[in-house]
Symmetry: C2
Subunit: 658 residues, 2 copies
Amino acid sequence: MKRKVYLDLISIEEAKRMFYEHFKITHSVTKVSIWDAGGNVLAEDITAECDVPPFDRARMDGYALIASDSFEADEDNPITLKIIGEIPAGVVSDIEVNVGECTIISTGAVIPKGANSVIMVEYTEKEKSQVKLYRPVVPGENIMFAGSDIKIGEIVLRKGNRLSPREIGVLAALGITEVSVYQQPNVVIISTGDEIVLPGEPLESGKIFDINGATLTNAVRECGCKPNFLGIIKDSPEMLIDKLKQALSMGDVVLLSGGTSKGVGDISYNVINELGKPGILVHGVAIKPGKPLLVAVINNKPVIGLPGYPSSALTVFEVFVAPFLRELAGIGRHEKRVLEVFMATRVDHALGRHEFLPVHIIRKDSNYFAYPVLTGSGAITTLSFSDGFVEIPSNQLYIDENERVTVELFSNAIEPADLVFIGSHCLGVDLIYSLMLKQTPNVSVKLINVGSMGGIRAIRRGEADIAGIHLFDAESNEYNMPFLQDILDQVAVLRGYKREQGLIIEKGNPKNVTGLRDLLRDDISFINRQKGSGTRILTDFELEKIAQLENMTFSELIRDITGYEVEAKTHSAIASSIAHNKADIGVAIYPVAAKYALDFIPIREEFYDFVILNDSLDKESVQLFIDTLRSDEFKEHLPVIHPGLQTTEETGSFINGL
Amino acid sequence: MKRKVYLDLISIEEAKRMFYEHFKITHSVTKVSIWDAGGNVLAEDITAECDVPPFDRARMDGYALIASDSFEADEDNPITLKIIGEIPAGVVSDIEVNVGECTIISTGAVIPKGANSVIMVEYTEKEKSQVKLYRPVVPGENIMFAGSDIKIGEIVLRKGNRLSPREIGVLAALGITEVSVYQQPNVVIISTGDEIVLPGEPLESGKIFDINGATLTNAVRECGCKPNFLGIIKDSPEMLIDKLKQALSMGDVVLLSGGTSKGVGDISYNVINELGKPGILVHGVAIKPGKPLLVAVINNKPVIGLPGYPSSALTVFEVFVAPFLRELAGIGRHEKRVLEVFMATRVDHALGRHEFLPVHIIRKDSNYFAYPVLTGSGAITTLSFSDGFVEIPSNQLYIDENERVTVELFSNAIEPADLVFIGSHCLGVDLIYSLMLKQTPNVSVKLINVGSMGGIRAIRRGEADIAGIHLFDAESNEYNMPFLQDILDQVAVLRGYKREQGLIIEKGNPKNVTGLRDLLRDDISFINRQKGSGTRILTDFELEKIAQLENMTFSELIRDITGYEVEAKTHSAIASSIAHNKADIGVAIYPVAAKYALDFIPIREEFYDFVILNDSLDKESVQLFIDTLRSDEFKEHLPVIHPGLQTTEETGSFINGL
């Protein structure tokens, strides 16, 4: 096994400079029908080969006449003309209008010979074969002259113009049905790594599913290019060289990514240089994430090796690859959505590395706030919580709280949610969300499960509209309110519902568990909840009591509990772990035990309540949330769908005196 | 012929209220592969059916060990462990690590039994079958625990989530290859009118090409829906009813549009009410443009009749149709791009009508400015000049200059140009633009031909970066500079090139034209340029001289000139008109005569110069323009490609002493 340590890190600017020095953008051209042309980029100038309109045309329904016949007309002294015919739109007529005559004419119809103006029907009165005019018209009035819109010979659209419906309208007006456009570049995508398998295939031990293949395929498509996923190859130079030759023969750009943090540099360095000139230009860039970025050009085709971790791969894709893909596709540089936001918390930064900090975005009134996503670069959840990233140059020490920064969004399909719910996970909240969707199908809710304390922190920072909490205070023997004393002037507290916490154990209780004390047994393993969750606080409170009984310190006690450090983020995840025999005991609410058909030993009945930011109370989405919580439908469904959850008479009422 | 006058105009808000009262959004569901899922909207909750990662996994390359073995290690006193094996990624090993032992481990590999941490290779030194550790690690260090990212049982994505690459990454991580999404709504589009024919078909006299079919097809696609254009039907109730039945059977939404300003209401009113309930809800709305809007719902399928003029149709589409199409497709309401801009000029507004004013947008530094597009609702050029529209409520009297307004863009593919060139049309400018594109393929230039005076006005208002002008001042007998005296402190004037103006006449001069005086002949027709163009000013100056000779007033003279009021916007359009025998004489520059193989009678040699806004001088695109004008390539190509255009020694130099 090679043990490569990166030596020659260069800056991202230098990497880009070297790349663009050796790679020249060229466009292939193809024909496309105007019916499918939207979004394409013209590869030719379009010259009008006919006039628009092609003839003098009536702008209004009315009468075509000789203007001078109307000059004396007014409301009191109408002038009467003889109607000598009628010209509907689309018909060529040989009627000729002479002095004292007129024709009925429809909007869009050809102006008859002799006539030089149209009077609107509103200013006339028809009497059999005559018409009275109540006002004069000037020559040319209500006529759209041939070629007045577009004239033969005009260049109406140019090479490089992107075709939106309005440009397609111009093409249609000229009768043009097919135009030359830049061809979609072909981007070949290859995943590498001995440990990855394709989604949908059986997952053997030690393997993980390939993520980058599918994300890059969709990201490439968003850049206006045609993705072509060639599958997974093992970490072997021989297989890599074959696949790369194939990729270079069929594609305009090749994207490689590794299954791990390492990227594909280790095995591909020599392989790539064998394929053509100039070969590898950059290997290792001083950015975070994305250090192992490999940049090569083979006969004017870019070959880019991305890091393996999905969030790193997608970030480096956005920073380095997407700009030139969009340029290749002819999609504008400004096409990518960026958002001006305020940084919600201070972010410190290590000098010397150029960082692309993943953030998620909250909308508050008409402002946006960005929060760093701190789950770590290896986690796929980093990707799913991140709306985009903020760039921090290598010489910047920090971003201050409330500093204005620009977020580059990971996708045009990303938009900040209508309602941000952060806090403890509860199935009751899932039900509220489902009922909200039933009522207002397009309401978008971001549910982030970070535990009760995390929810309160988010409310304190204005990050969440609503936090769901169930926090037991040992001193007062009360739930929730004791934890909110210092923010009571900023929030409304809404009574939620009751739920029962207890031990989740295997069906039939084969290990004969009687309580938390059994965690000290050698044959029993535990699955814990994350720090800051209400369930964790309750668990630790109960374990503290056991430590006292056993005459141990808390630290000694937990050292004896197998699995105490293994943390799950939701009640469901606890139940699932027990059901799959990954642990023997977990603490969770009753409904998940029921859902997974597991046994349940009650510990305590608790209140799951909602903390709502005063500033958010008038948001439509928050009102919908409150209305749903108070609805009869919720009260009826809750105990049926989730046995063990129960509303009370107080449910939906404000309990901090609002 | 029916002569319908609109009677019951209602407000757009009322029209929307009535529509949403009778139309309920419902979604059909289909399956899509994750490889193609980008942009779709989930129709199901996604629950994790496996852990991510599925096993305890090394985060780094290094050695897997028992953490407590390393506790005493530091730089001076390394601890030595025995290497008992090597675990690459993707391999399941039955190695068990005991006290004093370790294994080599790769990033992503399974942590072996017994080990509880990984030390990074950077902090070790390998010596044959042993390794020295130079720092301690804590339990769990550099290990990503099974399920720490996503746990079995978690709801990871929800119904209503839009799938971007990040969500697809989550699906791939779970091995999910197919998901339920909202089905693309099917939108049937029908054009109506006796006078329209399909683009590509022969254009008979009195007919025009259908524009709305193609623009609406592409606009519907931008809303995430599937367009289905059924073609053109004549203004006949029988044909309309058949086509509407077909449309309702195959589509979720039906869009009709007329070929003229009238819309389709006149013929379709009774027809639509026969098709089902509730039928027509609205016919006639107090908006501009778009008054004839017809809104019907037939068995929960919207049938919308749009006005015929393309810019009106597209505006009403954006205002009324696009929002519910995006909702049907599950595309977010915020998906549509809007821009905050400053209104560049005061816009007065008639009370009582709700206006959607077409505007084009100029970027200046980081601000955007909107200018009304005033070509009139019938013109297709209204559409092609408009970037979007500004809404003016019916009770608003005006929008002030520099007032902040929101522009709703006609398409996501629209972006303000890098360089705005407004002024007189010249083929030399076309050449500069082509050479600029060769140098910088992605530079976007908006060329607007409004004549020389229009160019100066645009510069004065800060609307253009560069104006191209050729304006003859009779008093001083000089070109251009006399017209710029009052703005010389705001602009730089760049010498352009010489060109020859003259009469364009038919090849071989069959009518024996000798000069402008021949315009007074009965058998001669003229094609003029638009007011404010340098060529028009020159023409009028020359005609004034003839009037004096003939002892006529100017008004008398032009009344005797056939075609004096017919205006073309470009030199090419003049030549094209002569070549197609639409007129006998026009005034234009020599190159267009050469291009169309026409005869040319010189009138005067003139300077075509460039006026550049001082504020724009440091824009990259402007510098590129100047560099191109000064380039040898331009000097060589200009007289060859466009005979009669000629650079001089001054070309490219500033002539106002900058």
